[in-house]
Symmetry: C2
Subunit: 348 residues, 2 copies
Amino acid sequence: MRAFFHPDQQLHDPKQFMRVGRICGPNDLPTRTAALVGALRTRGVDPEVPAEAGLEPAASVHDARYLGFLESAYERWACIPGAGPEVLPNAAPYWNGSPERDARPGCRSPSVVAEACYYLGDLAVPIGPDTWQSALASSHSAWAAADAVIAGDKCAYALCRPSGHHARADRASGFCYLNNAAIAAQRLRSRFDRVAVLDVDAHHGDGTQEIFYRRSDVMTVSLHVDPEAYYPFFTGYADERGAGDGLGFNLNLPLKPRAGDVTVLGALDRALEAVARFGARALVVSLGFDMHRDDPLSMLGVKTAAYGEIGRRIADVRMPTVVVQEGGYRVCVIGACLGEFVDGLRAG
Amino acid sequence: MRAFFHPDQQLHDPKQFMRVGRICGPNDLPTRTAALVGALRTRGVDPEVPAEAGLEPAASVHDARYLGFLESAYERWACIPGAGPEVLPNAAPYWNGSPERDARPGCRSPSVVAEACYYLGDLAVPIGPDTWQSALASSHSAWAAADAVIAGDKCAYALCRPSGHHARADRASGFCYLNNAAIAAQRLRSRFDRVAVLDVDAHHGDGTQEIFYRRSDVMTVSLHVDPEAYYPFFTGYADERGAGDGLGFNLNLPLKPRAGDVTVLGALDRALEAVARFGARALVVSLGFDMHRDDPLSMLGVKTAAYGEIGRRIADVRMPTVVVQEGGYRVCVIGACLGEFVDGLRAG
């Protein structure tokens, strides 16, 4: 199994995020990548540096103005007298009146302060001096893994960091800037006519859902903690099934807190059945280790060994597969989870 | 001239707001009210305590679930282990897909954390233990001033604090929780068939605009710093003219930074002409002193004496008028501004 990782992905070094009204230390530590690289090496996998691919991967699923913002924001922000050390939004965008006026109409103000409010959906996506470079490199890892599968590999792993599944076409949120899984899926579409994205991060893959919500060529399936009382709160409900051409091509499987291994694996089976029924020719897995019982953000109580079983069951569907790393924040645990997952994937 | 103020309005004591990525000390200090009360007394006006009116004023323009949130939020929040000292949002709400799905559909999650994200539009509306009580009392002052004018007074002043003009039907923002000006306008409608709201705060009166955006019985006119580079960024542009039945009944007059007295007074004249053309039978003035050149948030460079001229020109339209206090954050300046304004109003 080939794996991809660019050392620039460690540069992003967020200082803070807000949780229940308090500014806290960051969860997405740069040391996460070393833990994951270490786990790959114990399995004999040495991650390759992905080819430089510029903006093409990101532009395949993201809005051009959004990318322009991400690229320029820090430098513009740093020119503001008294500005904080990271670009952060301080207000939510909105516009006038009711329903039909409420579409996202673009950010009318050219101010970077306004654009931060428009393009950054929460306080967990600070932009520092190296954020863009890391996010871009992360997208290259996803793109390269998709290319490996397009070239005939059964499976490839993209060690993406920053993560991607909360990033919408024109909005960062939840530690995510560029949607690596969506980028991989879009790349796979150049070779496979039907692609599925299976999201097993503890959080709803809301960005991925949004990007493909009106499309029937990419199915999105996510299992996650019930958003009734868990981030991202506003999506991830079972009745979100897609819209327009995409109706019926989105499946959410919300799980009650403390679901545990058996329930999670049961939901995984339902998800994989849906992927098979859809007739997917290739699969992207958004792999988060924040379902683990020791994760600071999780509530599902999943044990390390369950990631081996998740890998095995995914391998059993025998589909060309790109695995994209998403969350998982307990640095001393995620390496073991990845090791188990890789073992399972190979045994399947 | 009668004036209204409830001592509970001083209780709200916010600890922070976020500005350009930094948590700062609050602008809306409780001492603002003492400065304004003092200025009234120098003009021989002793503010009266408004009658207790319960939820009726707020409910006349706000969503019931929003009011339920404001009332209950602090107590629910304080039960969360590790929660910060004030209710704050950490993410912007959103929902799926594109245009037609983007209306505000209500907050699906019953979690107070999610509701804070849904109902609080920015980081300048923290909810502390006394916020609801102060906001409710502020709405009573606006209601009482409207009642005085309905009873035949030529003019009445509501010393509202917290302010109101950024509060939408279901969203707090910009130090505002309940829209006192909208509440006064709605109350005046029980007696006058056409009411105008004239907003001379330095910031666009986005909440007031939104509440009446589709109505032709209440015209909203706002002069303010051009939102291209100034809060609230997303509305306040000249081409926002109302919608549906309200088309043509909203007027925005954005002003370039450093506009100064002459330009501001010229815009005021245009605003008052529009109010006259509309055929308003009564007027609500959203009065902010943050256009003043010493205000920490302003960029317009208005001098104290200009507030006298503003009062005079408003008096000259000879319309039953409720003046509602909005912003103005330089405590040592706002009293003089109010004194000048009252003098002008009486001289008109």
